[in-house]
Symmetry: D2
């Protein structure tokens, strides 16, 4: 199996096309290091001392029959979906936030299912092409991101109605050996540390929008690709080192400036009727991943709330109990919805399994609608210190360290270092640029509540409920 | 299989011990008729035209191997739990509210599991006694209620500390052939139309509370038992007949005034260490039933909201979509939690299966915390007419009927009768004594949010979450 | 000053035009008695033992200079508005719910202000006509209702677009001596016990909707007027008499079947540009009244919650404190908004004072958005007994009364009668048809949250806030 | 009047006792510059082009009769309180967040009222001492902070029960000429740019806690005082300069390491019965200030939401209207509560006016309970870009700037720079360390919701509400 070291070296060897704050940078830039640590964890997990984790990460390819990393696996049954969900939760508990690599596996599964359906209706051969791509991906244990969200321009106008047609990524030229695409994808997590960019549509297209109905995968350093990247990570620590401080993420605007995609890497090319289905499929698999990672976030918020209550000696209060149970309820309702979505999954024409769309979306939506409330609860119990904690250096300066250690004390039997470590974590977790950013991604990442609203409204049988009511009312139907 | 007719006749033959509004009444009292209609539905369901419903209601006894009604069945696997949950939802969609009979089956399962555990620890033979009781119950397709909640007196004091020791039901005398019990159980749904009263403890007991640790089952008209009963049903209709108006429920305070319980009907008698476990077990099975019935309530509220929006011609509004999706989310999160609870059930020492306690409780809690919000949403879309709808008679009086039919019109292509029927249903559903009562039972029935809070807090591994946080913070453990 | 007795006799002498449940009834019908009790209180208040109340109800007419009942007064300054708000709260604390008679005074003030504005723009003489009407109203201490809300038909269509033009009340004929109107007004509180019906438009009208732009006042028994009425009151008590059980309300659909309105009673007749202003003015004065009555509702809910906690002996719990403070906050935020609305009132061209529209609407909206939550909080602390309380008769039957008195006990030093009285009140207050109805009127009465939303959005300077933001961002404007 | 320049020079001349991140720094440190800009604004406001602002900031001393800055004024009537509230809102709209200097004026007013009350009861002469201090403060237009919150140690223990008695600031020695104090105050806003530290107790004290009952004022660079300071400010801008980016704040832990306070600067010294009253008074005046500043925060959030909706071309959506009205309601309910608190203020024995405690606290509490919801609403409408906006430099790099300007476009008629400026502001406002910190201070600053809960519960007549209920229920009292 591939080692994290190999992955890093491969990423470092990519053509220099990442921009950060006005400069073209190498992928060894320290602002990308926390992201690399996170992605590396998915390789290291194969050797994790906890056998539960090792077992979760290991999958057997239904293509090659070989052992592979689950982050490259196609879900061939309920058990695969359950394991992916649980693996996501377990690994996110280790990084403290995101595990990043679900992007790639969710894109793989979406295209695996979707290309088969296109072929069935249109007589195309996307699925075979894609099968080869999956084999390559699994064989080489690739790290890929999923580039879905277009920049979208004026929100009242469709792709074809925009003043600038490039505001949705589109095919600008078809050639015998491939296509030329132009446009941009925004908010693309982990693109700057990915080897491959997997591109899928962002929405339903109409008949006159063939040019915008496109899906493909290319190496991240393909000619014409520019990544304009924002690093996300906790505040740097000088001395109070802690695992949480080492993990991070990044988001990019990916510019496709007349980028050539060879035929064997094209998975949708003008079949506009399937743009919506592919968009939905990635969203569905990705929202299912959220039913794993979001409960992990809540686990950590809950753990911080419980621990700070313990350190303050107020753990037994009825008010704390209610607050913790509110957090438990959020975590486990979302996780339960993911479980139900997996247990009620169905087999698609491709043979891969698709999670139940209703349970998956109510789960993700519940998470998105509660992340602010979760921070608020932690804020309530932790008090103001998480926002006014003196800077790290002051805890090490000879003139101030004893004073701070004296005055940070809560329960007398908990050492000042522990108190400091906990408040530093809470501060980094919720009172930092990264912490604030997680609020936003907690709402919008993988689909804003409005997107789940649309998915639910479009896939739920409201008419059946009207019939139930008509019967009760004695209204003839 | 038993017919509804037989059940009714049996109930009508019971000794007259039901009191309503100051009078001792027969069980043929018209205020009990709606409850009988509801309970009858569980027998009629065996002949329901919908095969899905027939199949759900039919179970095979693991004791006798015979076909039985699922409302008397012991859940011997995940599938049984799933079917009970779905059956409950389907039948509640027909009555519009409660199906009542889950009380009995939940009590049976609780005692089935609990008596086995007591015997294992204490060398008693409760399980064998109970097995015979279950056989009798299944064989005769009995309707039983579960009498759990004590009146509880001063809420700060334990059973043994109350000014009046009877404020929790207790054993006042032990005899060779049985025991004498005294006390009362409150809020007991369907007691007045039950053949059997199944009595279980309401809480954890301590060593000095042996007298209060008691469980048993007796016929509802046993000497010394008095039922003081409140009927619940929609406003009576004179002409605008509708299925919803025919179903109802009832609650009783059951007085046990020196009631004799023979030995073979005693299932806990002083083993105080198990009082809490039995209380929890009934609550658990019953809360799992709620993950079936509460989504049905939401189905109906959602159906009414969608239909009234259709009749008003505002169905396409973004605001209506959000409101409906909020309702969908409540229904399906609760149902998903019930599914997860069933899928993650475990086999008990008795061989019966116990639902996962965490998922079950987060599901029931979510339902209880949202019922007011659901009514509020329906109120928002339906407008004030549900509270000011003229009385039924005015729609039939020659001087006023044409006027009301003229002025009740919303969409011109929906007949006034349909408009009337829908608003009458909504009015009866949320603006009636019964409707208001469902709000209260939606919160407190089968366990108030505070009870689920206690169950969750006591059964969730918060320490594990603290460990996760300590690792992230670098706090040695 | 007029006596309640005189008012009742006058009402009883009106032509029989009230329909209830299919029958034409006298106004002495017992279902109207609770409403008459409520309205009578506004007369009795002049002799209330509490001087604060007497002082609040007494006003001096700016027209005649005589002492009048404040429910007929035109607000000539901030102090008048403050007194009306406080009077409303105090009197509603006595009835337990609504005081009804604000309808009339709010309509009077709206037309007083509005007619003056019309005259200024259109050269009409509505204000002089109306001044005479106010004099008559004050002199005779009249009880009047305000008929504003049309039945409105298809909610997507304007008055002039409806399939049936009568779905908004309209002028069908103009005659030298007056007009003939046709249509209906719905949800009209206290119409059946009013001497006068004051009719105002329900919304903005456009140029082609002159026929629907009409305001007037007529005696409640005018030829062609039919009231189809729904009585609202607590469950009747046989023995456990209590003030709360004696007060009530009623709502009517008022049919105007070719009703003649003489010229001196017409206050808007085709000036469509002012329909919206009149609608807004009544809504504004009436919402200001809500900032008085709604806090009274919360006072009572809060009092019940505090008292039931005391009787259960859980009053000192942190959880109870939070719950009570939540209720305090609702009551006092709404009241504070009403105060601010009065203190920031401005003088209109008529000389009467108009409350600040922003504060008034945020106050009413806050009340409407919290009434369900208030019931929910009371439900939470009161527990299930309010929904399962045995019927009154059972507390008086020789066979059951001692048992119920024994088992209803909470704190041992609070008598069973007190326990019973409190739970009966709570049950009647929130678990009855009337209680449920108050939830709906709490949301929709005097303007649904959506109506306050529209009023606020249309009257708030959002552009100013954008300018503030542009300055902060450095965006040129 | 004093100029900002003078104030800055004075601050720069203070003894070096500020520590930041391990270093002893000058007050010219760039991390304090944004705070100085904010405080300077209170001087510059005297020359603000807007006469409304000039008028608000100008007050006339009731002591000297001279014109002074309102931030040093004692409120001698309702009008003063109203002006302070409005001034606070207006100035916070300019900085975008806090105006800082209310700390000093709120402390002045609290001690002005409180010292008079102590003297009346104890025959002390604190008020005269304090009057001299106020004169000095007004004369020199001093900038002072209020050091109230102790570090508090174990939250279950009182000051006298802590393992370390210094966990609440205390008197360790009394001398003829003054006292020596030891301890620390935490979360002290603007201490590092203050000339004076005004110290008041944090809570009620008991008889054996005389040593902790202490209030005084000293220069910020008094011997023994150490400020360990955290700067708070928006991300630095290199090119896209904007007013918002120039303002900031700072919080300090203030260490009092055996600090001498001379007699004329001591305002409470052992009179433990008044510790709670002083704590409450500062909290009350400060919470009243919050009813001015918090609405300004909401104004800005509302303005950003409205402007981003305009730029995206979705401004007319019903959903946007509701969201904006929710924000309007939060801002204006809080402001209305502040107005009501001012209008219902009462004169204290000192002659200064004390705001109504109930209205003030419901206002501040409402603000604290909604700040997370406000960010959430802005997040909802702004979408993910505020969290993934490329760094400023990328908008100026020749290789990327045109691309970013192309792809950031929303409405085609709004320039990319305006789009960029708005999203940069939103990002800085809610997705930065400062932005996250404002969430925490929005909840806890000036009193957490729990503190308002305590203030309300202790100062509200719940018993009166019980009496109302007893009357309605017919319960004798």
């Amino acid at each position: 199996m591939r080692r994290a070291e190999d992955y890093r070296n491969k990423v470092f060897s990519l053509r220099k096309n990442v921009f950060m704050d006005g400069e073209l940078v190498e992928r060894t830039d320290p602002r990308l290091e926390p992201s690399l640590n996170t992605a590396s964890l998915t390789f290291d997990a194969m050797q994790n001392p906890d056998p539960e984790i090792r077992e979760l990460v290991l999958a057997k390819s239904h293509i090659s029959g070989k052992n592979i990393n689950r982050f490259t696996h196609i879900h061939m049954g309920v058990d695969d979906l359950l394991k992916k969900q649980l693996m996501t939760r377990r690994l996110c508990q280790i990084t403290g936030t995101c595990i990043l690599r679900c992007m790639g596996v969710d894109a793989l599964n979406a295209l695996y299912v979707g290309t088969h359906e296109i072929d069935q209706k249109k007589g195309t051969d996307y699925h075979q092409r894609f099968l080869k791509y999956v084999s390559y991906f699994q064989e080489n244990d690739i790290v890929g991101c999923c580039a879905q969200t277009d920049v979208k321009g004026n929100r009242k106008l469709r792709p074809s109605q925009q003043a600038d047609p490039d505001l949705y990524l589109r095919i600008v030229e078809k050639r015998p050996d491939g296509i030329i695409v132009k446009g941009a994808k925004a908010h693309i997590t982990m693109a700057a540390i990915s080897e491959e960019l997997i591109v899928v549509p962002t929405r339903v297209m109409t008949k006159d929008e063939e040019a915008w109905a496109v899906a493909f995968a290319i190496p991240a350093d393909t000619e014409g690709v520019k990544l304009i990247t924002l690093g996300k990570f906790p505040p740097k620590r000088a001395k109070l080192l802690a695992p949480f401080a080492t993990y991070g993420s990044n988001d990019s605007v990916i510019i496709f400036d007349h980028v050539f995609v060879p035929n064997d890497r094209i998975f949708l090319c003008g079949e506009w009727e399937f743009a919506g289905r592919l968009a939905l499929l990635f969203a569905l698999f990705h929202r299912h991943s959220y039913t794993g990672c979001k409960p992990a976030i809540t686990d950590i918020i809950m753990g911080m709330a419980a621990l700070v209550a313990e350190y303050m000696d107020i753990e037994k209060g009825a008010h704390i109990r209610r607050l913790l149970v509110d957090l438990i309820s959020i975590a486990e309702l979302v996780f339960a919805a993911g479980l139900a979505s997996a247990y009620c999954a169905h087999k698609t024409s491709s043979g891969a399994w698709e999670p139940n769309i209703v349970y998956c979306n109510v789960g993700r939506r519940h998470a998105g609608m509660n992340i602010f409330a979760e921070y608020e609860k932690l804020c309530e119990v932790a008090g103001g210190l998480c926002a006014t904690l003196p800077m790290e250096g002051d805890f090490y300066n000879e003139e101030t360290k004893d004073l701070l250690n004296k005055y940070i004390m809560r329960r007398a039997d908990i050492s000042p270092e522990k108190q400091h470590r906990l408040f530093r974590l809470i501060s980094d977790y919720i009172v930092s640029a990264q912490g604030a950013s997680k609020l936003i991604s907690g709402v919008h990442g993988g689909g804003s509540p409005i997107m789940e609203e649309i998915a639910l409204y479009g896939n739920y049988d409201i008419e059946e409920k009207k019939q139930i009511v008509k019967k009760l009312a004695g209204i003839s139907t």
